[in-house]
């Protein structure tokens, strides 16, 4: 027998009752290990479950990201939530629906073909039978087989609709975020982070810190970690400011802790890996640690959430009878959270007599794109490294190529080339902590590769779109390339004073296809005025949500491409405010038009990171069209534009 190929989430969590239950009349409990990062994933999951179970969306009670409740689906990352997590829920729900029909058929002694389900109730020839999911008492403590057919494209009622986001109402005037949690036993905390890895805490003015905080403020120190705790947040904050100003660092064992139960709320992307890392660093039995996801501000890769969760866990052991609320400041997040990995990408190729590339070589130089908790066998939690006995340092490593790669992500192109050589020059040690940022290596690689494609087109004397099409036989890739060109009016000249650029990529070469055109105006600075995107993500669960992700990704990538660069001073990150690290503002955002042109008969493909690389490349190509000179370094700042203008 050939085993069914189940999505990874389902083979890791095979029992139906890990995913779905019918705990009370009229309600459906659905559990996902994926978490809401502002991408609308919970809405998509509920749509999928309601669709395949044939229940009203309002009946779904969705639990998400709780090590005590939900399936372990690792990280919410890699544009895999709908594809893998949603794919699992889809199969589970289809199977439960089939089991319900089978059980009802036996009960009613009629062929299953006469039965149907409507809003959870079993109908026979369209008439009520009195049976439903809640009265059938299905035994769901069984392994999923993945064999029940999911609905065909023409039968879909909820998938493919612009279902409004379930999380948004509470975000307008409500208090749904992790920052808003306020249990009665709350205690506020700020943790002083080392400015550099490996720095030792030499001294701080304890008396003046306590004076600045006043009554009820206390300090907690372990290893090179020192924290301020207290009931009043403003006093804690005042004491912390004093602590930060008086602390001197130069350049570590936490005692084994006894805790009966530790509950950690976090906006982590991976509650299960975080639980493992916290338990390891604090020497706790993982079974005594529960990590529960609570939404925070948007997440575009490995940010400070896991580190802040560890800070809180550490302090909770010091204040065992309280709920510790650790707030990272803006300076913390920008100064000591992981950074995106810096990259250098070099490309070379020759052209044959028909202008087709030969001897294609890409050299990728990069440190690691993954230092998440648990990655490379490490704990990878910031404050854990500053404890007296820090956990063993992980072996340096990058995200495995088999899973999409880190630095190598999108290093190969989909174009028809006789041969592609890729050399990955891994940089094992860097002074700053690098980890996953939306798209990982795809951002720099696609920027380089699609810039290079324009250079080859120019060398071939061909239009960039026509050149790409001449090297592309994948029909889905051709379709998005042609559609983006059509949407933008590529064949007619750009608006007066503007230039356009083109780029294409299929994220990870296995997820969604995107082709795009951007329009820019270039004076001393680059301004992106418009963008057109054509995307094939196969079956789209929630088109409005998908467009929100694609266009949000474009805007964020415009910001990365034009403005964003980390600055260092004295071995530490100096760009730790929005003033020193400016991002795109309302007045700088382009108008964007997006079309989803995938065939819904194709399975869903991840779309959350598909825009990042092509946006950078399309802007670079447009800037080249405007200036007649190519910029090869990001971001495309005023200084670099001026240099290119002077050199041209």
């Amino acid at each position: 027998m050939i085993p069914n190929t189940l999505p990874a989430s389902l083979s890791d969590n095979p029992r139906l009752d890990q995913w779905v239950g019918f705990p009370q009349d009229g309600r459906v409990a659905v559990r996902t290990g994926k978490v809401e990062l502002g991408q609308g994933v919970l809405t998509a999951m509920a749509q999928i479950a309601a669709e395949e179970l044939d229940v009203d969306l309002a009946r779904i009670d969705l639990a998400s990201g709780d090590t005590g409740v939900t399936p372990n689906e690792g990280y919410t990352a890699g544009s895999l939530s709908v594809q893998v997590g949603g794919g699992s829920i889809r199969l589970v729900c289809a199977e439960i629906r089939a089991l319900a029909l089978e059980a009802a058929a036996a009960r009613l002694d009629c062929p299953p073909g006469r039965l149907d389900i409507s809003d959870g109730a079993v109908l026979r020839d369209g008439e009520a039978t009195g049976l439903d999911y809640w009265s059938l008492s299905l035994d769901l403590a069984r392994a999923a087989t993945g064999t029940a057919p999911v609905k065909a494209t023409g039968e879909l009622r909820i998938i493919g609709t612009d279902t409004p986001r379930s999380d948004l109402p509470a975000k307008i005037g409500g208090a749904p975020f992790i920052q808003d949690m306020a249990p009665d036993d709350l205690i506020h905390a700020r943790v002083l982070h080392r400015p550099r890895r490996g720095a030792r805490l030499v001294s701080y003015d304890e008396a003046s810190v306590l004076k600045a905080g006043g009554d009820g403020v206390r300090l907690h120190r372990t290893g090179d970690v020192v924290a301020v705790l207290g009931d009043d947040e403003a006093r804690v904050s005042a004491a912390f400011t004093r602590l930060r100003d008086t602390a001197r660092f130069e350049g570590g064992a936490l005692d084994a802790a006894d805790a009966e139960a530790l509950s950690v709320w976090s906006h982590s992307q991976g509650v299960f890996p975080l639980r493992g890392a916290i338990a390891r660093a604090l020497r706790l039995d993982p079974e005594t640690v529960q990590v529960i996801h609570r939404q925070g501000a948007g997440c575009y890769g490995h940010n400070g959430a896991d580190d802040a969760a560890f800070d809180a866990a550490l302090l909770a052991l010091a204040v065992p009878d309280r709920t510790v609320r650790v707030l990272w400041t803006r300076e913390d997040e920008m100064g000591v959270a992981p950074l995106g990995a810096p990259m250098v990408v070099k490309l070379s190729a020759g052209l044959d007599s028909q202008s087709r590339p030969l001897d294609w070589t890409i050299d990728i130089h990069s440190p690691s794109h993954v230092n998440r908790p648990g990655a490379n066998g490490g704990v990878n939690l910031l404050t854990a490294e500053a404890l007296e006995t820090p956990p063993e340092a992980p072996a340096p490593g990058d995200f495995p190529d088999a899973l999409g790669g880190g630095a190598t992500r999108n290093g190969f192109v989909l174009y028809d080339l006789p041969h592609q050589k890729l050399v990955h020059h891994f940089i094992p040690h860097t002074p700053a902590r690098t980890s996953s940022m939306r798209g990982l290596g795809a951002f720099a690689n696609v920027f380089a590769l699609e810039s290079f494609m324009d250079e080859l087109a120019e060398a071939a004397g061909m239009d960039p779109v026509a050149y790409r099409l001449s090297l592309m036989s994948d029909p889905r890739a051709r379709a998005v390339i042609e559609e983006a060109a059509r949407m933008s009016g590529w064949d007619s000249p750009p608006a007066e004073g503007h230039a356009r650029g083109f780029a294409f990529s299929r994220y990870k070469n296995v997820a969604a296809y995107l082709a795009m055109v951007v329009e820019v105006s270039v004076e001393e600075e680059v301004r992106v005025t418009r963008a057109w995107c054509a995307v094939d993500g196969g079956l789209v669960i929630n088109p409005d949500g998908a467009i929100n992700q694609i266009e949000g990704g474009v805007i964020q990538a415009v910001s990365w491409t034009l403005k964003e660069q980390v600055q260092f001073a004295d071995g530490a990150v100096a760009s730790n405010t929005w003033e020193t690290y400016p991002i795109l503002r309302f007045s700088e955002v382009p108008r964007i038009e997006t079309r989803l042109i995938g065939d819904p008969a194709h399975p869903p493909l991840g779309m959350g990171e598909v825009s990042q690389g092509p946006t950078a490349a399309a802007i670079a190509n447009a800037v080249t069209a405007a200036l007649g000179a190519r910029l090869r370094h990001l971001p495309l700042t005023r200084d670099r534009i001026m240099q290119a203008l002077l050199a041209a």
Partner: protein
């Protein structure tokens, strides 16, 4: 040192003792339990904490509570039945939503003074606010829609 002050928050008069150094945001969130206003950067650079003080957008992260004594404060909690809420939901204007409370208050201030402000004025009013997810265009559309709804209601 603690000082007794009178605040009019969302139409309700309250008197309470506040630390003279406490920012208004701290008092709203931690003393009054009004947690829709968000702490973002604490430096008047992101706009997540924006509230209206006598109708004018004000960074609550740095504005001292004692300086709000006797003045009118509006927070995003006040928008329950407001056209802005309807419009933001209709446009699905947000991703993570963390920036929205502050943006809503700047939008309210704009619409209160000018019900049909036009795209340029909306963008200018929202420019002090950062949105990291890239929901800007939807947000601008939502403010335009809210303006239309307000005009319909007053017509």
């Amino acid at each position: 040192m603690e000082v007794e002050i009178a605040l009019h928050v969302n139409g309700v008069a309250t008197s309470l003792n506040v630390d003279e150094a406490a920012p208004l945001l701290h008092v709203l969130r931690n003393q009054m339990g009004l947690r829709a206003s968000r702490f973002g950067c604490g430096l008047e650079q992101c706009g997540a904490c924006m509230v209206l003080l006598d109708g004018k957008p004000t960074y609550a992260c740095s504005f001292l509570a004692i300086d709000a004594n006797g003045r009118d404060i509006e927070t995003a909690e006040s928008l329950a039945g407001h056209p802005l809420r309807e419009a933001f939901l209709a446009e699905q204007a947000g991703q993570c939503g963390y920036c929205l409370s502050g943006i809503l208050m700047s939008a309210k201030s704009l619409l209160d003074s000018s019900p049909a402000p036009g795209r340029e004025a909306i963008i200018a009013a929202l420019d002090p606010h950062l949105c990291r997810c890239g929901a800007h265009e939807r947000i601008v559309r939502a403010v335009e829609r809210a303006g239309r709804l307000m005009q319909e209601q007053s017509a």
